[in-house]
């Protein structure tokens, strides 16, 4: 069995580093003093821990309030934006519907006038056998019909664009 002893060379300190005389070693000779010192150290440690814990607790409270407020404000902002957009949409829709009905009423009036006039002309033409007035009126009705159709198509083309909220991001993890 080998001896695992590390061989060390001991040398003396150089003369200038060698201490003069005996070196005093401080020690608490008195037992009550030692006890008091230990108690004081423990008390200090506990006090410091309590202070740190209180500080941390305060920070946590502040952060909680901050998060709660962030959520509340965020939700209220979204709600407000949504209300504005919905009000805008509803107002525009009401206006558009009123306009569509009004224009249609005018077109129908015109159409009815043509129909009545043509029927009157037909009755007159049956007696005279001269349908030129009827054909002229039919041509005018045809042109009016074309114009009103084009106007309607232009009106339909002016569909209002989709209003958007400012941030259109999808939720985290949303697939689609």
């Amino acid at each position: 069995m080998e001896n695992n002893i590390i061989e060390v060379e001991y040398t003396d300190l150089p003369e200038d580093l060698q201490p003069e005389g005996n070196i005093p070693i401080p020690s608490e000779a008195s037992f009550p003093t030692a006890i008091l010192k230990t108690v004081a150290d423990v008390f200090n440690n506990v006090t410091n821990s309590i202070k740190e814990y209180s500080m941390f607790k305060e920070q946590e409270k502040t952060k909680r309030a901050e998060i709660k407020m962030q959520l509340k404000i965020g939700l209220e902002q979204i709600q407000a934006q949504k209300e504005v957009l919905l009000t805008d949409l509803n107002n525009r829709h009401e206006r558009d519907m009123t306009m569509i009905r009004a224009i249609d009423e005018q077109i129908n009036k015109g159409l009815d006038n043509y129909t009545n006039t043509i029927n009157g002309a037909i009755e007159a033409a049956k007696k005279t056998n001269d349908f030129s007035a009827v054909m002229d009126l039919l041509e005018m009705m045809n042109s009016a019909q074309k114009a009103s159709m084009e106007f309607k198509l232009r009106m339909m083309d002016k569909t209002s664009g989709m209003p958007r909220l400012d941030d259109n991001s999808k939720p985290f993890g949303y697939l689609g």
Binding site: S49, Y53, F56, E60, K63, I67, Q70, L71, G74, L75, I78, Q79, Q81, K82, L85, L86, L89, N90, H93, D96, M97, I100, R101, D104, I107, N108, L111, D112, T115, I118, N119, I122, K126, N129, F131, V134, M135, L138, E139, M141, N142, Q145, K146, S148, M149, K152, L153, M156, D157, T159, G161, M162, P163, L165, D167, N168, S169, K170, P171, F172
Partner: protein
């Protein structure tokens, strides 16, 4: 050491809560956008249906007028009257494809 770990865990939990709050706000925003889009589609549908009803009503009137003139042309053997009636029908026929294209665009928006 245990106290430090506990404090760190609390901090991490707080950060996680913050992330959850951001996700909640994103979801809310998306749902709000869906609600607006739903109303938009509904309104587009109402407008498209109104246009369709009006188009149909007007075409019915013109069609009836054309039929009456055709009958008259047949009774009186008048070719020009028949051509005039045919012109009315032709205008109606040409309007249909354009109207339906605009109708579908109105229905589903831009």
């Amino acid at each position: 050491m245990k106290l430090e770990k506990a404090l760190f865990d609390v901090y991490e939990s707080g950060e996680e809560v913050s992330r959850c709050v951001n996700d909640i706000l994103l979801s809310e925003r998306y749902c709000a956008a869906c609600e607006v889009y739903r109303v938009y589609l509904q309104q587009n549908r109402e407008k498209a249906e109104l246009y369709y009803q009006q188009f149909k009503a007007q075409n019915d009137k013109v069609f009836k007028q054309a039929m009456d003139v055709f009958d008259l042309a047949i009774d009186f053997h008048n070719v020009q009257l028949a051509e005039a009636a045919a012109m009315l029908v032709k205008t109606m026929k040409e309007a249909y494809p354009n109207f339906y294209a605009a109708y579908f665009k109105q229905l589903f928006g831009n």
